[in-house]
């Protein structure tokens, strides 16, 4: 049975101008021990998808669809049951480790308190375990770390403490929301290595939210690309890089500058990412898609599953070869041909309206 299954999850948030859709039907599944990356730009709904799992969505949000943890719908749990799930089965790591720690408690108090309260361990046993956990996340000076307050530790060190606390209960599922975005690149590499190692050691499944496709590719078994509140493509990292099936994935891969080669001009996706509530029928990406046909603006594509992959594009079959083009240069020739000179000028949606 899957650890996690999302079935047509929709989320609407009331606002002054009426209800706004943030998720427009997200479906995904996560096998035990599997790592799934949720990749997208701001407003794509990646964090919101994650938050529906532990019911930490913003107050007032209306969620429909099913969120199944080991087959049981979390949306229907009462407060006590939800607390048990959060203590034992699912933990979350957020972007800002400082928000997860109490600033007036030392690290030792934070870790030991968690172990005693949630696991019912004795103080001595909990202290021993806490020290062991810190050593396992690569903290050299465990004594100093245990005796420190959060403000005395660096962001990378704090994120390790948070990871130690998150794996303490050996949860079945780890929710990670941009856990390294606020860290330096060298620290990011270390923290990701630790997170990856701990995940494998404890056999945890992971839902990993990030805007960084390369980072997700390095630590995930499969990747779901989100756009405007829905999944547009699911595939393994190797499949995505070798032959993306959705135009958005292709352009996302191309528009990131490369560390090894300089492009005379970066291929751009015209316009800006739109939010789910801005979609007006048809394919959400059609307005920015260089391959869009008239029917793309009319007909709404469904997420089509085929041979372990899934794609939401009306033209994915006809475009397969073109999208799989090996060199970004070739694609850039075609896509930026019409954008050179007038890169974005006329396409950016009028924000003042």
């Amino acid at each position: 049975m899957n650890v996690l299954e999302l079935d047509d999850v929709r989320l609407d948030l009331p606002s002054k101008r009426g209800d706004r859709a943030l998720l427009r039907g997200v479906s995904l599944s996560l096998a035990p021990g599997e790592a799934l990356g949720l990749v997208g730009e701001s407003g794509s709904g990646k964090s919101m998808t994650l938050r529906t799992v532990l019911r930490t969505e913003p107050p007032g949000a209306r969620v429909t669809g099913r969120v199944l943890l080991d087959g049981a719908d979390v949306r229907g749990l009462d407060a006590a049951a939800l607390r048990r799930v959060r203590a034992n089965d699912v933990t979350m790591i957020s972007q800002n480790p400082r928000a997860a720690l109490n600033p007036v408690l030392r690290v030792s108090q934070f870790l030991v308190e968690g172990l005693c309260d949630a696991r019912g361990e004795s103080r001595d046993a909990a202290t021993r375990r806490a020290r062991d956990l810190l050593a396992r996340v690569g903290i050299a000076d465990v004594d100093r770390c245990m005796g420190s307050y959060p403000h005395q530790l660096s962001g990378g060190m704090l994120q390790r403490v948070v990871i130690a606390a998150a794996v303490a209960s050996s949860p079945r599922l780890l929710l990670a929301d941009e856990p390294t975005t606020a860290l330096d690149v060298t620290t990011q590499s270390e923290v990701m290595a630790i997170l990856d190692g701990q995940r494998r050691e404890h056999g945890m499944a992971m839902l990993f939210v990030t805007h960084d496709l390369e980072l997700a590719s390095a630590v995930c078994d499969r990747i779901a690309v989100l756009y405007a509140g829905e999944i547009v493509e699911i595939a393994t990292p190797a499949q995505l890089h070798a032959a993306p099936r959705h135009p958005y994935t292709r352009l996302l891969l191309d528009s990131r500058p490369s560390i090894t080669a300089r492009a005379s001009e970066l291929p751009v996706i015209p316009g800006r990412p739109i939010a789910a509530y801005e979609v007006e029928g048809g394919c959400a990406f059609a307005a920015r898609c260089p391959w869009a046909a008239p029917r793309c603006e009319r007909d709404e594509p469904a997420l089509v599953h085929h041979a372990g992959r899934a794609t939401r594009c009306l033209r994915s079959d006809e475009l397969a070869d073109e999208l799989a083009g090996e060199t970004p240069g070739e694609t850039s020739g075609e896509t930026s041909g019409e954008t050179t000179g007038e890169p974005v000028r006329d396409r950016e949606t009028e924000a003042t309206t």
């Binding site: 805007h211 960084d212 996302l252 990131r256 090894t260 970066l266 800006r272 003042t352």
Partner: protein, 280 residues
């Protein structure tokens, strides 16, 4: 302007210390430790480093937001006074402008885009009235915005559009040098590519000189000809961008390069010896 073909920025022996902590924990941190560099007219120098490297302090000293403890800054052939008078500060602002990571930090959320740009035009070039109106439209066009955006408040614009306004505002002073401090770091990937292209186009068209501060080596490759790598207030490596990225010599540059996610990359723990070497 006697610097055509020469260096627009010459920095030598720059030193800056900050006192941090209180009581027994009080100590000084050397944010800049004997930093020297020069930037040729019309080129782009990337300054790479992580938090605490001193790269932002360097930029702040350069534009005059911070005073160095020692060292000299020569901007467009003129030595920059450590305690400048008002007129000197203003003339420096016409030479050098800065764009920050968060455009909201440089835009007043209650003033329209037009008002923000007009303020700079009036302060530096006494352009007002219909002339200013025309300049605003020109500047917006250069950064890829429409005339209608002039009436917008910052809050009504997307992050990418806000950053374009911040760039337009910096260009309004008609500077020779633009200091970009992580100016594309907060943008979405697709919007980042647009702004990087825009910055390259503006540099060519206006023959500007860039000091591009970033932590992102892919961005360094894309925008710069030369690069300096900073760590704990010191420049640990410098050279042409392709040389430094393809054949890094300093272990810290190697570590930085190996830490950047890319196809085939795996996160890894830097082992003890690696770090010890880098610490020295």
């Amino acid at each position: 302007m006697s610097t055509t073909g020469g260096n627009v920025i010459e920095i030598s022996g720059l030193r800056k210390e900050f006192a941090v902590g209180r009581g027994r924990r009080r100590r000084t941190v050397r944010a800049l430790d004997d930093v020297s560099l020069s930037v040729a007219d019309g080129s782009c120098l990337a300054v790479v480093g992580e938090s605490g490297s001193g790269k932002t302090t360097l930029a702040r000293v350069l534009v005059g937001l911070e005073r160095a403890d020692a060292g000299d800054v020569v901007l467009a052939g003129r030595p920059v006074a450590q305690r400048p008078r008002r007129a000197e500060r203003r003339s420096r602002a016409r030479d050098i402008q800065m764009v920050f990571q968060d455009p909201n930090g440089s835009l007043n959320r209650r003033r329209t885009v037009e008002a923000a740009i007009r303020e700079v035009l009036a302060a530096h070039h006494r352009v007002t009235g219909a002339d200013a109106r025309r300049r605003v439209d020109e500047l917006l066009d250069q950064v890829g915005l429409r005339p209608a955006h002039a009436r917008a408040l910052p809050g009504e614009l997307s992050g990418g559009q806000q950053q374009r306004v911040a760039i337009a505002r910096a260009l309004a002073a008609e500077p020779r040098v633009l200091v970009l401090d992580e100016a594309v770091a907060a943008l979405d990937v697709s919007v980042q590519a647009q702004v990087l292209n825009l910055l390259a186009e503006i540099r060519r068209a206006r023959r500007l000189t860039y000091l591009f501060i970033t932590h992102d080596l892919s961005v360094v490759r894309q925008v710069s000809e030369e690069v300096v790598v900073m760590r704990q207030g010191r420049i640990v490596e410098r050279g042409s961008t392709s040389e430094v990225l393809d054949h890094p010599r300093h272990p810290y540059t190697v570590l930085l390069r190996d830490s950047a996610p890319r196809p085939g990359w795996r996160p890894r723990l830097s082992n003890g010896s690696d770090l010890a070497e880098v610490e020295t």
